[in-house]
Symmetry: C2
Subunit: 349 residues, 2 copies
């Protein structure tokens, strides 16, 4: 199969129509009789015709646009990474005449997501890329996208019972919970592990649920007698956080194991610093600058990461490929590797 030498003209001849008509069905922009359309499609099929992307790009003028629908963020937060990845992708597809636009919502506020998604529909972009932080609402939105024939791609999280997405890229959630548990308890014998603290953020539709399940599965299997204590903190209230943590350490003076399933382990900076001197094993997620800093200080032992930027850039590229040549990704569910970061290999990541 070499890059086929058959052109739109060969197709036109074979179908007994003109270039123009072929082009029309190629981009189904109407104005073609069902009869010719069928003939053309058949010719394309039989000749195994693949349009020349370069000729197409050279000749066409109208840009396509992809909308990234994502949570708003402040500096140093997880979603900033995702954003940067999108920007990288944007740079790469710019020369393909594809523009990337953003629409933000409040990740703690369902209605803000809904109204943002409304705006997406109005804008009628060529494609959309988004995480599925709110399962239900996202599912509804996805259905409307499908009706509008707008392809969409999930990053980070997807709607579990959706089957119409163009692609997904993210970490295998449950497995990452297991890895987390394994790293937390690595080299420990069964009775070393009596008490584990899981620090959580109270919110609607917790996106880390599956990760937690994987974690618990591993613990139950390997350390059945370990007790797991949940500590709920408010990301917007450091004082509350520190108080909760202090309370926990008071109650469990020998506490040694601690995890957080979201990217916010840095919220525990003060609490962990205050605990310095005690032997602790702390595992968190994502290579945010503040998290890396804690690892440098020895307050966090391991971070589980996933090359977030590269992921979202890849999402953009995949969507761009689809927009330009209708090429769907070979694998739809892309599970990325679960990277283990320690003090020793955190550079160059």
């Amino acid at each position: 199969m070499e890059s086929s030498k058959i052109t739109i003209i060969d197709v036109a001849k074979k179908a007994g129509v003109s270039k123009g008509t072929v082009d029309r069905v190629l981009h189904n922009r109407g104005e073609v009789s069902a009869k010719s359309a069928e003939k053309v499609r058949k010719a394309i099929e039989e000749l195994n015709f693949v349009p020349n992307v370069y000729a197409s790009l050279l000749a066409s003028k109208k840009p396509k646009t992809i909308i990234c629908l994502m949570p708003e963020f402040t500096e140093g937060e997880f979603w900033e990474k995702e954003y940067k990845g999108f920007m990288m992708g944007a740079a790469q597809v710019k020369e393909l005449n594809i523009n990337i636009e953003f629409l933000f919502y409040d990740q703690y506020d369902t209605t803000s997501f809904v109204s943002a998604s409304e705006k997406v529909l109005e804008a009628a972009p060529g494609g959309v890329i988004m995480p599925a932080l709110f399962q239900e609402e996202t599912h509804k939105f996805a259905q409307r996208l499908q009706e509008a024939e707008i392809p969409y791609f999930y990053v980070d999280t997807k709607v579990m019972d959706d089957d119409n997405f163009l692609g997904y890229i993210g970490m295998p959630r449950r497995d990452s919970g297991k890895v987390c548990a394994a790293l937390l308890t690595g080299n420990c014998s069964v009775d070393d592990v009596k008490e584990i603290a899981v620090v959580r953020i109270k919110r609607e539709g917790d996106p880390t649920k599956r990760r937690r399940i994987g974690f618990m599965d591993y613990i139950k299997e390997n350390f059945p007698q370990a007790k797991v204590t949940n500590i709920f903190i408010d990301p917007a209230d450091p004082a509350q956080t520190n108080a909760e943590m202090a309370k926990y350490f008071e109650k469990h003076p020998k506490a040694r194991f601690m995890v957080m399933f979201n990217s916010r382990i840095h919220l525990l900076a003060d609490a962990l610093a205050a605990r310095k001197g005690h032997r602790m094993t702390v595992v968190g997620f994502d290579d945010l600058p503040r998290n890396l800093e804690l690892m440098r200080q020895g307050l966090v032992n391991v971070l589980i990461a996933q090359h977030t930027e590269e992921q979202s850039a890849r999402a953009i590229q995949t969507m761009a490929d689809y927009l330009i040549s209708k090429k769907k990704p070979e694998v739809r569910d892309n599970y990325v590797h679960i990277d283990i970061l320690t003090r020793h290999n955190m550079e160059n990541y």
Copy 2:
């Protein structure tokens, strides 16, 4: 800076010549007077002209070729991964009208490298990609490439005092040795570590030297009283290997720490299996199928890996970019992340 609207015609006008002449200097294919050439170059400069890749690709017919000069290999070996990566890259640049060719040599035989490199020069490709397994010979070869104005890219290893390569991509060698040491001794107190076995392959110009240095540095600093024993094995002689290993374990019945700095930890499969039951910490490099299998069996604890395929594919792409638009990579030395693989996160890698 939008994708400039200035074309080759603008340049031609400004320089007071024709499109043809501009094109000639653009690809310095001669037949142009020094005077016009200069005028054109100035015009290009002033107008900040960037050729349109798509138009170029569409109009040009002659394919370019990249030669990968690399060690021959058998199934499951490290260099097979590198090869597969090149093939992936080949697939990606195929539509850019770029062909990838291979030239193999025996990694244990300097002269075979030299004669292979001779053939590269004869073939006069658009670019070459290679590791620098033989420092000196590769350096000489690199100089001849430069004289012939053939760009070259290093993968895996580079010539330390070469300064003319287009790019390099590989793991920071010394650091990887340190990480290796840290993983080997993780969670150990100073007097846990009395004896460490380093299994090596005797060969000319050992490519793992720097890795070993990093390893030793870490050990000396953190476990000054640890004794390091070198065991030399012959990769082509399993019996010799097993005998050497048995001898070692006999002499050091309590041996617990073992590493290998190349990708061949799988050569120790039998020896490690025979040792089963003893408490061992074994660290190796690279995610070869056979190595992964050992990890699955619990005979190897950690593998340090580097996404080899992706790396070599990237090398191809970078070279292709250069060939097509003379675009040099922003960073020339690309140090990849040192990935840590354990039984728990080895899937999806």
